[in-house]
Symmetry: C2
Subunit: 108 residues, 2 copies
DNA sequence: ATTTAATATCGTAATATTGCAATTTGAAAA
DNA sequence: TTTTCAAATTGCAATATTACGATATTAAAT
């Protein structure tokens, strides 16, 4: 079907899945890493950095934005992008919880 | 196209994308959380815990296994599952790096 | 050997994702 | 206002994912 039964899972599970889905593509990982590789906002330089056509990059940026992973600010002719630290903190907190639970298990 | 241009990105980017893709579905998040919710290995009880048919669950388990997120051990008639702490540590380390880089940026 | 129970695989339908050419939009510059 | 340049949107083709019924496999139990 290709259709996820989201209604069968709780909000938290759907939310985490969506956040991780936004990062589940090498181009989007590359975008995030590029944004972090420079000590400032990136204003309109992303397309040239990626081996993909402009509409494709635009689409990936949209998905990252929708998931809240990056923020974009209109800056004159172009757009200024940077990574949203809040959501990174949220992801870290999630995996921290998982890791804590793992410490109590001593099997396999 | 639906085909990812993996060859255009580096190994690390493809690897992270694949790991996160394995977790980018509420059913697979639910599986991991269920495995963690019990203080031992889970032996053949997963299908009943999920609102999905057995072949669907089996497929999700396979994807988690392929990505190295869970480990399965044949245990008599059924299979014993648990979360692979190594890969969780790897994910945490990745987001830790991201977070450190974020601390040096003070824009947006 | 047969039955039983758990999990895997196959086949298939429905939907989602990826990618890009063509086009449009939006805002600054001329 | 026209041009220009960056980014978004549209439309479409190719491939991937999700889900499940039917069936196969596997290993213990009878």
């Amino acid at each position: 079907m290709g259709i996820t039964k989201s209604d069968q899972f709780n909000d938290h599970q759907n939310k985490m899945a969506n956040i991780l889905k936004a990062l589940a593509h090498p181009a989007r990982i590359a975008i995030v890493e590029y944004l972090l590789s420079v000590d400032s906002c990136i204003c309109g330089d992303i397309v040239n950095e990626l081996p993909l056509a402009q509409p494709t990059v635009s689409q990936h940026l949209k998905e990252l934005k929708n998931a809240g992973i990056i923020k974009g600010t209109i800056e004159g002719k172009g757009i200024c992008y940077c990574v949203n630290d809040d959501i990174i903190a949220e992801i870290m907190s999630y995996f921290n919880t998982i890791n804590k639970q793992l410490n109590f298990k001593k099997c396999c």
